[in-house]
């Protein structure tokens, strides 16, 4: 068995961003489907109110997140790769039942396995933009309001509404699977603990020194 070492995988902002995003997506989904008349919990008016405010919160959060990704270079984590892609899929479909080892090692410079890379990239460049843009069009389908000169004027909300609804289903499907996959770390709770504390037991790798160096640097800069 390989040696394990505690590594500070998720930085403060990263966790702040992750958990706020989780909260906002929960709020948006809860209120969104109430607006869709799927159920009645908060009342339509409150639901719309919270949905709109959470939407702005979400937009502000992702602006910070985008800034963070580019200034830290963390965006490189999401560059898709085909290396190990098949192996990773096979792991989730077969290997995991036989207690086989994770085919992709989790390291500081590569936190995501190839499947995660693909899915998260899709989330970032497709799902979230689609939801944000269709959501903004929902809010500003006619803008400025009540004015003769209109910058945005959409005659029919239907297409926007349907895209927004379809996206909502997709995001919830992602969250469900994401919640389950939390339990597929080294132990059932290791992934969750890592996202809360930032620290995770990672296998020591060949470029262990490099990782250690990076960690040192991180701490020094702090």
């Amino acid at each position: 068995m390989k040696k394990h070492k505690k590594v500070y995988v998720y930085q403060g902002f990263e966790r702040f961003w992750h958990w706020n995003q989780a909260l906002l997506i929960f709020l948006l989904a809860l209120t969104g489907f109430e607006i869709h008349s799927s159920y009645t919990i908060l009342g339509f008016e409150t639901a719309v109110d919270i949905h709109n405010k959470a939407a702005w919160g979400f937009i502000i959060l992702i602006i910070f997140a985008i800034f963070w990704h580019f200034t830290t270079g963390e965006w490189k984590q999401y560059i898709p790769t085909t290396k190990n892609l098949k192996a990773q899929a096979e792991f989730y479909l077969l290997g995991i039942f036989k207690n086989a080892p994770h085919p992709t090692e989790k390291t500081l410079i590569s936190k995501l396995n190839p499947l995660q890379r693909l899915v998260y990239l899709g989330l970032k460049i497709l799902m979230i933009p689609v939801m944000v843009i269709s959501g903004l069009l929902f809010m500003f389908y006619r803008y400025p309001h009540g004015n003769e000169i209109e910058i945005i004027n959409i005659d029919n909300l239907e297409i926007i509404a349907l895209i927004h609804t379809a996206g909502a289903f997709a995001v919830i499907a992602f969250v469900l699977v994401h919640l389950y996959l939390i339990t597929t770390g080294h132990t059932i709770t290791s992934n969750l603990k890592a996202m809360i504390s930032g620290w995770e037991d990672l296998e020591e790798t060949e470029d262990e020194n490099e990782v250690a160096d990076k960690k040192e640097n991180d701490h020094e800069t702090k």
Partner: protein, 533 residues
């Protein structure tokens, strides 16, 4: 250093979201500054600069009402000319209607599905005409002395026109006390307007449903503007007039999008503190949310079936009443249905309307004939959703020529064909159609008709305005019939929702199956391990 980082992270992670949520959910303090301004402005009573009781010319003993008009015009020299061009006198308006060109339509020549029309019945109907002597086609619309100034400007509330007098008051003995009345002349009071506009169609609240005598004494709970315990406004506070051209339109007779009265004139286009409500006003008229029900005090007629008229008991006409005293059947008029606290129906409306003319061919393939058509659609930028009273009924039509029928209902005496006196359809139709110069085939039937009347009055207090859910709801919302647009909460694509649910259930199912296999596999491994040990 690390300590600080931890504190900052803690702040960002816990305190900041809490702060943001609290700030975001805080309700803004109510700001009624605009309403307060209006409240201060409108109840101020008009102070007349003239005391008509001091005018010598009004002290004489008038022999006939035309002399009164003459006396009025001797000071108000130009007002007569204004009245000759006012719809209160002409009962018609010049209007361009697409497909028809320039038309001259109004109460003078249009039909409705209440008492149907004034033609051949002028002697009775003109009790509500601002003039004297309109008994038939011979009435002179160019003679200023035919104007009745008193009916609108009497401030004593005692002036009344005679029944069946063609617009004249009771003459001679028992007539109005002119000295008192003329001394009181001033701006019209709500009572003046109400004498006709509240009683149209043959009784209180029969026609409009949102205009009735109770408005004169009711509180804000009935009409927030006229309420005696509120601003207690008069009709003319909103329906102001310039040169006797009143603001406000009734689309049972009007056709064009001008001279309309609007809430925005006082309340501005952005009266709400919540911008999402202001945004609604792009497509939704104020009235839609703020008049949740009409006919709040007394019932209004919702259905009038002329086809059952002329029944007799012991050779005579009769009436039937319901428990509340509403006439539900009258031999002279047929069957009625009355309703109170009515929820309006809704339509897109851009301020233009068309009307069924006596000369129009009726399309009998339709379920009903539209007496008037309110134009509008979601995609029409000038259209808004408005509340309306829909009055349904059955009325006579020429089943061969396929035209609507003008019936002669009234006359001074029996035997001249008036339905209300002789209780006989055929003769009444022949006389009516002869009067309007329309051919009659000799065969009549009764056809279902609908009439659309925008509801603008009986505005409720803001706490009673419609809630979101009354429209934004899947089934049977207020706007369920307006299907030409997508409304969140009401509309969805069933296939998309079905597919979405399938994806979610599929995901859950996959997770459960995967977890179950993982669980059993790991149990088995553990057991095998123990076995070995």
């Amino acid at each position: 250093m690390k300590k600080f980082t931890k504190a900052i992270i803690f702040f960002l992670a816990v305190v900041a979201p809490l702060l943001i949520v609290t700030v975001a959910l805080r309700k803004p303090a109510p700001d009624h500054a605009q309403l307060e301004k209006l409240r201060a402005q409108y109840p101020a009573r008009h102070q007349s600069g003239v005391d008509h009781s001091k005018m010598e010319i009004l002290q004489q003993d008038f022999k006939n009402p035309h002399q009164i008009t003459e006396a009025c015009l001797s000071c108000h020299t130009e007002r007569g000319m204004e009245l000759l061009h006012s719809s209160h006198f002409t009962w018609e308006r010049e209007a361009f209607i697409p497909g028809r060109g320039v038309t001259y339509l109004g109460k003078k020549n249009l039909l409705n599905n209440y008492c149907t029309g004034v033609q051949s019945n002028e002697g009775s109907c003109m009790k509500c005409h601002a003039g004297y002597g309109w008994n038939d086609k011979a009435f002179d619309f160019t003679n200023q002395l035919n104007i009745d100034c008193v009916v609108c400007h009497d401030n004593t509330g005692t002036y009344a026109k005679a029944t069946g007098g063609g617009g004249y008051p009771v003459m001679g003995e028992g007539g109005p006390d002119y000295k008192k009345i003329l001394g009181s002349m001033g701006l019209p009071k709500s009572e003046n307007c109400g004498n006709c506009h509240f009683l149209g169609g043959g009784g209180n609240n029969v026609k409009h449903g949102d205009l009735e005598m109770a408005l004169l004494k009711a509180g804000r709970n009935v009409d927030v503007h006229m309420g005696v315990d509120g601003a207690h406004m008069n009709c003319v506070d909103c329906h102001s007039a310039e040169n006797h051209q009143m603001k406000g339109r009734y689309y049972g007779v009007s056709s064009t999008n001008d001279q309309r009265m609007s809430c925005e004139e006082c309340h501005t286009a952005f009266p709400h503190q919540k911008s999402i409500l202001n945004e609604h006003s792009i497509k939704v008229a104020c009235q839609t949310c703020h008049i949740p029900v009409y006919a709040k005090v007394n019932p209004t007629k919702m259905y009038w079936d002329w086809s059952t008229a002329t029944r007799k008991k012991d050779g005579k006409g009769f009436e039937e009443k319901d428990a509340e005293g509403n006439v539900t059947y009258a031999s002279i008029k047929g069957d009625f249905i009355w309703q109170k606290n009515v929820e309006p129906e809704y339509t897109w409306f851009n301020g233009t309307a068309d009307h069924l003319l006596l000369t129009d061919k009726i399309d009998t393939s339709q379920a009903f004939v539209k007496i008037n058509t309110l134009n509008g659609a979601y995609r029409d930028r000038n259209s808004k959703i408005i509340p309306m009273k829909v009055h349904r009924g059955k009325q006579p039509y020429d089943s061969k020529n396929l035209t609507i029928i003008q019936t002669k209902l009234w006359d001074k005496e029996k035997g001249k064909g008036a339905l209300w006196l002789d209780l006989e359809w055929e003769r009444a139709i022949v006389e009516g159609m002869k009067y309007v110069d329309m051919p009659y085939s000799g065969e009549h039937g009764f056809i279902a008709t609908e009439m659309y009347m925008p509801v603008n009055h009986m505005v409720s207090v803001s706490s009673e305005a419609l809630s979101c859910k009354e429209c934004h709801t899947r089934e049977e919302g207020r706007l369920a019939t307006l299907t030409d647009f997508y409304m969140p909460g009401r509309d969805r694509n069933e296939w998309l929702d079905f597919g979405g649910k399938l994806v979610l259930l599929g995901s859950l199912f996959g997770i459960i199956v995967h977890a179950a296999i993982r669980f059993t596999a790991s149990r088995r491994r553990k057991l095998a391990h123990q076995h070995k040990a």
